[in-house]
Symmetry: C2
Subunit: 693 residues, 2 copies
């Protein structure tokens, strides 16, 4: 797979079909960018009306180009694109960037043109980026490909960016540029008609020089393939993403802008399942990428703090602790060593305040001692540049000490960078990631810890239960579908649950009133009786549900009543009435193209008022199921509270996994709710359930 | 009050006691800063050993200076400071900045020196900033005072900064500088021995050119005075603050660094009561200050969005909606008007996507139409600068349209500012606040809405209840204090609650077993009986509490048992046993120097597991009490849930206010808990309570 996108990212010669002599036109800007960025191969402007563009000989057609061309831009209007793709095929072009807009995103006519040129490209085995896109950049000095009409020229570096939205991609590229951080590769694929974000991720994943990948996507064509590829990549290097469309309004804007499946909850879950680090802000993401592309990954969340100023250290600690980081005390040994080397007014603790007058020897010792402390996994540094300190040599000591140990260092660097050029460049060349604020440095450090969490998280396994009765489920679903029913009857729902060994309160379905008493007696009172029929959907609205029935006499009376009211066609669904125990909810909901989202929560107010629920995508592994249970805010109730016994978490995990398998085996199930389940003693049993096709 | 700090912020002549010819020493840097910043008055270096510093004549003593001196820096070692303060008094100096460190913060000896020089300053009516501080800056071109050893030179502007920590102050000053944002005044007062943060806030409040104030404080000397002054200031202009020490570890670092009262929860509550906008990050705070110092305050939270790029608009909407902003649709009229003026590919909705090719006429129309829409209180703009657009004239149209309407505009400005200098400076001079990221622009806009909320919040009133029996409470407390007791007996606690008309479940205290039956009967069964004595503290541990007693027989048996086990000295506290209703908790806790923090929450898991509680500082107004009740996450339970009647919120507000008054009247009460209260029907009654002195 590695070299499949080489003609795109490492072109040897680039042609521009639709090159223009007109300044500021796309057909001119791309030529300018290629030249300005010092592209290593030849650039061929294609334009039948001019001889020369920006000093380069122009050719009437791609077919007239004397040398080989592996990558061509197409910037001509849509109707002319298919013919030019045909020409590219004849020429032996291997990859195309179709910058032109006005295809699928503009309706049926555009889509037909897109389909047309894609078919021709496929015929010749040409890979296509776009249409309606920016293109790619590769800063590798052996390539220097700026096949894009943006206007920021990244220096070589180790962060690669792939963005569906060129607008967001450009903002991120500019942000790294403004921070003085180099970038490796960049791609924005617009409509994504051929080369997908997933392929680009895979390509970046195998690029040795790419140490961190930034991703912005509003939709994914094939989420399953994406998850598989992204998982492989994140095991080697971090992928960082913004979750777009996390609010309903945002998702709506995303739909109207890209026309695809909207972000919403499932993008977040896809990212989570892939081991992708998600961020609420582009700036936090960029900062994290800087840290992740330059620092070793810490083994844990314990931070040693070195500071030469007070207030920013308070702010840093607030942020670190809020992120869940730990700040263990200095060891006695370390404190002893530091007492020898620090200035008198220094504060020998963690945080270690070396004070503003500390010079190179103090910083050298501070870093050497702190980095060696086994109880620190990383070092956070507040560094203000006092005019009366030899800051350049301080910076050199920091860099040298950091290099000698395999622990990450991040720095809140408080200075006027225009003035402290020497110090700044020593830190930069020493790959100490520097941030302007204590909070941002703290959050960048936390991203390293998050990535360590992802890399070391136990794999988890998706259990395949072999005790399930698929045929029974299939028969029930086939029957319901044959009647065009979307809502299953109680007997059908409980039949399906039984077939997948999902524990439910004991139940029976009987046809006649005369069987009700014996069925209820067999189950044991109290019971619930529900009128069950394919016609009655909102049962309780029509008197079709009576709970807490105490004896046979009452049971018979209830059944007779129901029959009188609802007609002879009904059956009686009789179930043990449970009312004690901790209410739980497990649900599943189909998400277009993704599979199902599984939900877990405590019942009642926890779901309805506090929205305290956890989600995961199918197939849910045991680890994911356990994580769902642990991550609800009310988790202490699950563990047991005020002396009450907790619920059986292994049983809950099994139920979640069985539901996950059920909806995976039968994607026709659009919605399934076990609401509530009652957990009592060691048992968990569903006492109400609903399935919608 | 206005001119009291004028000698400090608008000095006419500045002397520097301890001036030094040594480059990079503080005594040299301050001279350099004053000269570099073009201070309007004379600068007098004071140093008996040299004749000249940086081209200025040096004087052996302040007493030798020929002209008047209103402000003097002191940078000499602590032991020499008192004598020089004396000299300053003789010279008629009005204000001092004591930069020297090594006073109170270093222990008893330093404190004695600090007390000494302060007494001398007071004798002469000299105001002192510091010691252990940076000093002040005033960018007013008529003053140009840079009385500080920092190294950032702010341009004139409308934001003033006061920071206890010079480190944090310098970071904020640098951040504004890096954004190209001017500043008005700056002060960092270190130990704050004389001139307080409160005084400086008040001074900034009355400075016409200061439109927004940035505050960083880790502790406050007199919180009550601070609240009073800050409330007055925030009614006219916004104060923005970072809450330092919001985590325990952060508070600990703050204590060790400033030696004062730590941040913790109370700083946040002090800020809230003062109407101060608080921020979790310095950067967000700086961005908000830029918006607040340049834009009109919107009337509400409804935003019109104009964008010329897709993805960033999705991100902006996510952030705006997450902040609680609304994005109403365009009116039909507006949509009609825009259809006339926009490019064909524009998307005529809110967000209005003018598309990347939009030029000055499209932006002009977009702004004119959107700003006139009555359902938009503000405009959010995404502006990327395409090379093929006349961006300078776009910027001019934006500025002109914004100036013509009294609604705020904020801009996510996506560009390379080094290249788009013209466009950038038109936006800057037009006071359109520009931010690099969609999220940061959205949050800055939200800060304007937050400030509107503060300014328009109803005042609220602190009710003084005249039906309380203060004498009875005083007698109870005097008695307990005379016995050196910290924990009050049940009879004392309920006596105090009764005296303040705080509703409790009916109760009686009786001495003998023979009175128990009749007391319980009078209250009505079921009852609780508690053994009550000054010696028994943990009653339930020793069998001193029995609940849910059903009849006289059981009551007598319980009482006899208690007497046998706990001795003849006990009394019996008998109370109606309630077990139904919604559990609530109201608590009060004394906070050093602040008064009391009042807590409200729902009982049980809501407090113990979900930590779902609200706090306010005494005295709690009716509005604050109602806000506490509304702000807990479980508030829907209070309003009524699943058909259940809600609790009587007016009663809850009254209880909170009565508790607030009680602890305000009797600060000796360190802790008070009503836990739980039961709300049932229209009633709320405490069924257990505890008071600690």
């Amino acid at each position: 797979m590695n070299d499949k996108l080489d003609p795109l990212f490492k072109p040897k010669a680039v042609a521009l079909i639709g090159a223009s002599a007109k300044e500021l036109s796309i057909g001119n800007v791309i030529i300018k960018n290629l030249l300005h960025y010092n592209f290593r191969g030849p650039v061929y402007p294609i334009n039948p009306k001019v001889d020369e563009i920006r000093g380069l000989k122009a050719y009437p057609s791609i077919l007239d180009v004397p040398g080989e061309v592996d990558l061509a831009h197409i910037v001509i209007p849509p109707p002319f694109v298919p013919a030019e793709v045909e020409n590219c095929g004849k020429k032996g072009v291997k990859a195309l960037i179709v910058n032109t807009a006005g295809f699928k995103e503009m309706g049926a006519e555009g889509k037909a043109l897109e389909d047309d040129f894609l078919a021709r490209a496929r015929k010749y085995g040409i890979r296509v980026v776009g249409p309606n896109c920016q293109g790619i950049i590769n800063s590798d000095p052996a390539v220097n490909a700026y096949c894009n009409f943006t206007f920021t020229y990244p220096k070589p570096g180790h962060i690669s960016v792939v963005a569906q939205s060129g607008g967001v991609g450009a903002v991120i590229m500019q942000a790294f540029y403004d921070m003085g951080i180099g970038q490796r590769m960049y791609a924005s694929n617009g409509n994504g008609s051929d080369v997908s974000i997933t392929e680009i991720l895979s390509y970046y994943g195998q690029d040795e020089e790419t140490r961190a990948i930034v991703l912005y996507a509003e939709s994914l064509e094939n989420p399953h393939e994406f998850i598989e590829v992204a998982k492989r990549v994140t095991s080697r290097k971090p992928i960082l993403a913004i979750t777009a469309g996390r609010t309903d309004k945002g998702a709506e804007a995303s739909r109207s802008h890209i026309g695809g499946m909207a972000g919403s909850i499932s993008m977040d879950l896809i990212y989570k399942k892939s081991g992708i680090l998600t961020f609420g802000s582009q700036e936090d993401l960029c900062h994290a990428a800087v840290a992740l592309s330059s620092q070793p990954i810490p083994k844990g969340n314990r931070v040693g703090i070195i500071t030469n100023t007070g207030g920013p250290s308070v702010i840093a600690i607030d942020e670190l602790v809020s992120c869940g980081m730990e700040i263990p005390p200095l060891s006695e040994n370390a404190a002893g060593a530091l007492r020898e080397t620090m200035l008198e007014s220094a504060s020998i603790h963690n945080p270690l305040d070396v004070v503003a007058t500390a010079g190179p020897p103090q910083f050298k010792s501070a870093f050497e001692v702190m980095l060696k402390e086994p109880q620190f996994d990383s070092i956070y540094l507040n560094f203000v540049t006092p005019p009366f300190v030899d800051c350049e040599n301080v910076a050199r000591e920091i860099v040298a000490a950091a290099k000698a140990q395999n622990k990450p260092v991040v720095c809140n660097y408080m200075t006027d960078k225009e003035k402290w050029v020497g110090t700044s460049s020593i830190l930069k060349e020493g790959e100490i990631p520097c941030f302007d604020f204590a909070e941002t440095a703290a959050r960048a450090l936390h991203s390293l810890v998050r990535y360590n969490g992802i890399r070391t998280a136990p794999e988890g396994s998706v259990k395949i239960f072999d005790d399930v009765d698929k045929e029974r489920v299939r028969a029930i679903l086939d029957h319901a579908q044959s009647k065009n029913r979307e809502v299953l009857t109680a007997a059908e729902v409980y039949g399906i649950l039984e077939a997948y060994q999902i524990p439910v309160a004991p139940w029976k379905v009987v046809k006649g009133v005369e069987e009700v008493a014996s069925a209820a007696t067999a189950i044991g009172f109290p019971v619930v009786i529900k009128a069950d029929s394919e016609e009655i959907i909102h049962k309780s609205d029509v008197g079709g549900v009576v709970i807490n029935i105490q004896d046979t006499q009452e049971a018979v009376r209830v059944a007779e009543n129901m029959k009188r009211m609802l007609g002879g066609g009904i059956r009686f669904f009789i179930q043990k009435f449970l009312s004690k125990g901790q209410e739980l909810i497990v649900g599943a909901k189909a998400e277009e193209g993704v599979g199902h989202v599984i939900m877990f929560g405590l019942g009642g107010i926890f779901v309805e008022i506090l929205k305290d629920v956890a989600f995961a995508l199918t197939p849910v592994s045991d680890e994911e199921a356990m994580e769902m249970i642990r991550s609800v805010k009310a988790a202490p109730l699950i563990d047991g509270y005020r002396g009450a016994k907790g619920i059986n978490k292994e049983k809950a995990v099994e139920i979640i996994q069985r539901i996950s398998m059920l909806v995976g085996d039968f994607p026709a199930i659009r919605e399934l709710d076990l609401n509530p389940l009652f957990a009592s003693g060691d048992e968990i049993m569903a006492v109400d359930a609903r399935i919608i096709l």
